[in-house]
């Protein structure tokens, strides 16, 4: 746009062609360099809106992290991780049993959702006939399940996992199963997208070389889709680790001083403890709640960093 094009300097074009070329160039430049002021302003406003949206999200999360560190600051020490809960001496109370409870519950969730979620996604993408009415019904339901409020899964867990058919009782395994059901749709949907994104030439090539469908899926498609699947797992774990409401229904307690186990005894998790402490009148317990938020964020980052490392390791472009 800077210089006035000087058509006459060009070599030996007939005048009509020269005019045509010049005109075409002007039109193109006008279109792509937004010659007119209005469009320039529109572009700036649009960019501003995008940055505004991004900054709202960043400010919110930064505010929460800063608040947690400031409010919980006095209690950020090793005791916080190694001591058991105490109401009598809240200044010495720690989250050990809740941290272990969270690791048990979330560990169980990961063990359940990875094979189940990926299996369901592989079936729906690679084996199921998309024209089949039943498969379309299943498809629709998975998408709806992703939007069901978590408390509903808590009620389901209480009726069918804690009591009823499974009758596990109020134990950590029941919490794992309930949360796994809650986040399974997330994993299935993300895994399906990831599998769909693998170029069909990879699968076709494998089949053409004599591989069975199973071999093509297991050796070619799944490894290629792994980064996307891991992203889904990260999202699912991040949601599961923060849930308190369904766990309260399936037996997470607010006061336990012994280490948890999967199939017997009471357990607690960080969100349930934080929820309980944040409502108490005692100042020390409110500080403890804020410090608990920091612990939970660190734990989440730790668990997810494993998945992020694996994802980056398998990432590649086609």
């Amino acid at each position: 746009m800077a210089d006035e094009p000087d058509y006459s300097s060009r070599v030996a074009l007939p005048p009509r062609t020269r005019v045509a070329v010049g005109g075409a160039r002007d039109v193109t430049e006008a279109l792509f360099t937004s010659g007119d002021r209005k469009k320039k302003i529109q572009g700036t406003i649009f960019l501003g809106l995008l940055l505004f949206g991004l900054s709202i999200a960043l400010i919110a999360i930064a505010a929460m992290i800063i608040w947690a560190f400031v409010a919980g600051g006095p209690r950020l020490n090793v005791n916080l991780l190694t001591n058991v809960p105490s109401i009598v001496t809240p200044e010495n109370a720690g989250y050990r049993t809740a941290i272990l409870g969270t690791l048990y519950v979330i560990g169980g969730v990961i063990l359940l959702i990875v094979p189940l979620g990926v299996g369901a996604a592989v079936y729906l993408e690679q084996f199921a006939n998309p024209a089949n009415k039943f498969n379309r019904f299943v498809d629709l339901n998975i998408q709806n399940l992703a939007g069901v409020p978590s408390i509903v899964f808590g009620i389901l867990g209480l009726a069918f996992i804690v009591r009823g058919p499974l009758s596990l009782g109020f134990v950590a395994a029941a919490g794992s199963l309930t949360l796994a059901l809650l986040v399974l749709p997330t994993v299935i949907l993300a895994s399906r997208e990831a599998i769909r994104a693998v170029p069909s030439s990879i699968r076709d090539g494998s089949l053409a070389l004599g591989a069975t469908v199973w071999q093509a899926v297991w050796r070619q498609v799944l490894p290629a889709a792994l980064p996307g699947i891991l992203t889904g797992v990260i999202l699912a774990v991040s949601r599961a680790i923060g849930e308190a409401a369904p766990l309260l229904l399936v037996g997470a307690v607010t006061f336990v001083t012994f280490n948890p186990s999967f199939f017997e005894g009471g357990y607690s998790t960080l969100p349930t403890m934080i929820y309980s402490y944040a409502k108490r009148p005692q100042e020390e317990l409110q500080v403890l709640a804020a410090a608990g938020v920091v612990v939970m964020l660190l734990l989440l980052i730790m668990i997810n960093s494993v998945a992020i490392y694996l994802r980056n390791r398998f990432e590649r472009t086609w």
């Binding site: 009598v88 690791l103 307690v253 006061f255 009471g266 409502k279």
Partner: protein, 341 residues
Amino acid sequence: MKVTRRAAFAATALTSALVLAACGGSSDDGGETTTPTGDATTSAAPTPTETGGGDLTGSIVIDGSSTVGPLTEPAAELFMQANPGVQVTVAVSGTSGGFEKFCKGETDGNNASRAIKEAEIEQCAENGIAYDNITVANDALTVLVNADAPAACMTVEQLNAIWDDGSSITTWGQIPGLDVPADFADTPLNLYGPGTDSGTFDFFTEEINGEEGQIRIDYTSIGEDDNAAVTAIIGDVGAMGYIPFSYYQEAGDQVKGLAIDNGDGCIDPAIENVQNGIYTPLGRPLFVYASDKALQQDATVAFFEFYINNSDQIATIAGAVGLTDEQKAEQIAKVQSLAGS
């Protein structure tokens, strides 16, 4: 491609290994260090009147009210210091949610901020659960106003006029029979109360408005966060709200607790008045319901006796009001008759 495949297996193996390591590592140190609270606990430790020698074993599961939970938690903690062989857990799923589990025999005791209801009695009977209500402390609701509000005492009738369903009182000047300075009469009366799930809500509406759940609808619900009411009342000279006594104690002089006149003159919201039972109708006992089945275990009996005998210390920690000696003797008798000893 071959590398990728192997890496995929490695990834799966690594993830599972990490999960297992996290679980395995943690269970190693189980049981050995139950109470690493150090010397701090020694000074705070009670002089339990009945420790049972500390050789009791077993597990006790308590659930229920979020009002009584903060009282049962320190009780459990102190009891486990004296009896390291016993494991006590406390959950908070609400009085009603707790009774649902209690009457199925899934818990040993239920924290309750109200008496058991008809439907719950039937459910317990169906499942053959015999029980009794053990009073573990006294609690009170406090009606709060701003420290600068020109009122120190209200009658139950005045509170009823303000809070009852259909009440049209919106300013301080409209409160019947209350003397307020002329320049304060037009100050809006902003009302704060706990959410409908809380035992505090049930208790207040029943005592003040005559029927549980009956209340005007245009007040600000603070949900389960009683501190929110304190914060709001500190910042608003025309505000009024009701909260559990313990929250009022924590708030101190930042807010004013109204004295209540139930026909016998103004009674201050003070510990002695609650304990003596003259702070009516907003004083109440807090219960833990115990089942006969649970009391067959020696550890459970010891726990309830410990809870009652150390009521003063436990109540102080939770901001409630301890039992009188008379109440203690009564409750111990209840536990023993239910245990069949």
